[in-house]
Subunit: 141 residues, 2 copies
């Protein structure tokens, strides 16, 4: 990790550090992939891509770090009808649209009363997940 990468990865380093996670090379690439692609990847998708840059990468490392990121509040998991977990960065609250035709997960920005609530019917809310299932704009055409 020299000069050039310092520039590119500084914000990812800062994000990890601010959450108490040491910014290793593997972790930075995993985080970079998720943030830059915005495609809500599965562990396998991440592994396939990053192992091109780190041929020795292990799936276990990907799983370890995804779990760590979730625990630290950096990522959240999306469970679709397919068998793999998908991952999304935690930033501005938003919903997701799952297309049953192409399988894509599409970010849906919308204002939600619940996103700002901390309690519902006496239960303490820590996270709100809103999923729309159906057929996306593209696949309808």
């Amino acid at each position: 990790m020299e000069e050039r990468e310092h520039d590119i990865y500084r914000k990812f380093q800062d994000l990890l550090s601010s959450k108490g996670v040491k910014p290793s090379f593997q972790r930075l690439l995993i985080l970079e992939y998720i943030i830059k692609n915005k495609n809500h990847p599965s562990a396998e998708m991440i592994y396939q891509q990053i192992s091109k840059n780190i041929p020795t990468l292990s799936r276990t490392t990907v799983y370890n770090n995804l779990n760590l990121f979730v625990k630290k509040g950096i990522l959240t998991t999306l469970k679709t009808s397919d068998s793999e977990s998908h991952y999304d960065i935690v930033d501005k609250p938003h919903a997701h649209f799952y297309c049953s035709v192409c399988g894509r997960i599409i970010d849906i920005d919308l204002k939600m009363p619940f996103f700002s609530r901390t309690f519902i019917q006496g239960h303490k809310i820590e996270e709100v997940k809103i999923q729309f299932l159906g057929i996306c704009k593209k696949c309808l055409q």
Copy 2:
């Protein structure tokens, strides 16, 4: 299936028939379990209970029929942080609260603008799932 059961299971039979599913004994017991318990069970929970009544019951039968029920719109799946899928009857739209302490899934009745919408940002909506994650009323005490 004689008299007594006819009375008890008629509404379940009607529900299955109306969705084009033949009301076999196994299917009726599976449906009954989910509707009566309202506990959003996993396939394994259903298998454990119903195999008390049908000792020859196969897990495959439970999985087959749960999948069939979902395909026919009788049930919907709930994916929690645990590794199993959970199942809920499809009736009045409602949200779910997942307690990270006791693991319960609690029905949350609330009015939602989305429940009546058929499109969002050009995408065709077929189902809306709203999950609240946190700590339930009981576990907060």
